[in-house]
Symmetry: C2
Subunit: 332 residues, 2 copies
DNA sequence: TTGTACGCGTTATCAA
DNA sequence: TTGATAACGCGTACAA
């Protein structure tokens, strides 16, 4: 049923009557073999069911051809967008991609990064890193890291302007006449602090009083925290959540209270995840432009590999507000 | 800024005044080293910033410790559920996981599987495989494959009872008084044919005439196909879509026409993806129990590795209907 | 505990 | 140019 033995390059070489080195050259499309011989070698390899062993190749090779991608959570659609962007750059360059997935609570992140480091990747693109700055910096001493949407001193990064995104959200809501606009905050120190500070700055600029409720990434927790706001004194007429997941929690809480989003209470998320586009939800949100971030990160990664000693590399991306159905005029 | 040279096991051995073999033993927690020496070796390794190279280990090791996971599409939440299940089994067993991601149109699937094969994985768990049976069988001649939610002759599989899921959906709708229940079909030959046949059987059993509209995985296409149904003669009062993505397309079409889901038209999806749980959407759907499928697949994978010549291994899982807000009594 | 033969390609270095 | 030879990468496993 299954091949008992693995077919190796040696097998192909013997069958073709050439050296192993020549087979290697042929398979890598490298210079040093005549077209005719190359074709013959590949044909024989095909017939034998041979495929070069990537593990051996990675061990023997010169390096610089493997990109590691850390993804915080496969359930978050935004990360998938970023991954698509990374792939769009890495695959055409014929480099290989190694993935490692963290855990939602961040506890598995260090292990996942360690896996990448030990997998001989030449550079790591970190998507949704939740580790403290120092932990990321520690990893980057062994393997260069390009952080996506997170600004860590001395670590290459594709930075997204969280302040601008938050400002756009607040200005949108203020323009609709909302005055009691609350912010459902992300965990402190997660690198998205700009969303909170941008919110606060925009509120003050609009002559409004910031009102921040701490919360978490978990939708259920966000629902609880939003409920506290909505049931408290002087409930906000609009809630800006630090990301879409949390915004869904807010919508859950609103729904429980019979409040119609966009009418009784306005809700803005952050990320433009696919769930925010769900029919019936139509969440107004800030688009992170994930694929673009991913492409930029992959480009920075390539640059870092070719110039290991370059100064810190960064690129900046600007989010844009997407108005959908969960925001509307402030109730009078 | 970064370590210029990679620290190897040899470096640690020299520093500790022992052999490389002993360092290897110490790091693998294997028998053959005294506790004191082991601690000393690990301490020195720590100080030197050493981490065992997994690539070299995989090349040298005996095998049977690496599981490959093919995932069709990172944007589909159900696959993430399955992945979680796989991981829940693989990680505690201290095996390593290698991932490869396909493409939505299925064109990249062969390449992704090939990547896994060449990565020396001992077994592949295939999630969302769209390749033809023969292509999967071809891969499985080199590396055993465990297919998730797909039934391919001679390939190990965790099978989900699509017929039962479809039947539950139809019976639910028929019980609500619907008589014109249409099925928005998946592409033929994708392995989920049971949803269509289960639908047809359940319809006939209920004394109703099956009505199948062909469609695709794409939400936009599903919207077009659903629109044709809704605008046509004798429009269905209920539409059962082959998966959640397509069901969202149906909801889009309904929304465009001012039809309220659950009131004017009932909609049932399949998968119980996270989007189906979105507030305001609340899609009635068939729960695939992704994490359970993933766990079962990982268990089968382990069994296959330990018994390479065993007969075909299969396990069956039963989906369950989850009634939410998009289904309601048939309009009179 | 140690020596040492692998595992499977890649990449100089060298010869024709 | 076309090709061969041999060292190398970094651990693992087994005999000594």
């Amino acid at each position: 049923m299954r091949d008992v033995k693995r077919v190796t390059m040696e097998d192909v070489a013997r069958e073709a009557g050439v050296s192993r080195a020549l087979v290697s050259i042929a398979y890598r499309d490298a210079a040093g073999v005549s077209a005719a011989t190359r074709a013959r070698i590949l044909a024989i390899g095909e017939r034998l069911g041979y495929a070069p062993d990537q593990v051996a190749a990675r061990l023997a090779g010169v390096g610089g051809r493997t990109v590691g991608v850390f993804i915080q959570d496969l359930h978050n659609d935004v990360f998938a967008d970023v991954f698509d962007g990374v792939r769009a750059v890495v695959e055409p360059a014929r480099k290989s991609l190694v993935m490692a997935v963290g855990t939602l609570d961040g506890r598995g992140d260090a292990a996942a990064l360690d896996t990448l480091r030990r997998s001989r990747v030449d550079v790591i693109v970190g998507v949704g890193l939740q580790l403290p700055d120092v932990a990321v910096q520690a990893v980057s001493r062994h393997v260069p890291v390009v952080a996506v949407a997170r600004d860590i001193p001395s670590v290459d990064a594709v930075i997204t302007d969280n302040e601008a995104g938050a400002r756009a959200a607040v200005e949108h809501l203020a323009g609709l006449g909302h005055r009691r606009i609350a912010f459902l905050a992300n965990p402190p120190g997660d690198g998205y602090g700009g969303r909170g500070s941008g919110y606060a700055a925009a509120m003050r600029a609009a002559g409004l009083a910031p009102r921040v409720a701490s919360s978490s990434y978990l939708r259920a927790q966000a629902a609880i925290d939003a409920a506290a706001l909505l049931d408290g004194p002087e409930p906000p007429t609009a809630i800006f959540a630090h990301n879409d997941q949390a915004a869904f929690g807010v919508l859950d809480a609103a729904h429980d209270r019979g409040l119609v989003p966009g009418v009784d209470v306005s809700v803005v998320g952050y990320d433009n995840s696919s769930m925010s586009r769900a029919p019936g939800t139509a969440l107004t949100t800030v688009d992170l432009h994930g694929a673009e971030l991913g492409r930029a990160a992959a480009e920075l990664a390539a640059e870092r590999v070719s110039r290991p000693d370059a100064e810190r590399l960064t690129r900046t991306s600007a989010p844009t507000l997407i108005v959908r159905g969960t925001t509307g005029p402030a109730p009078s």
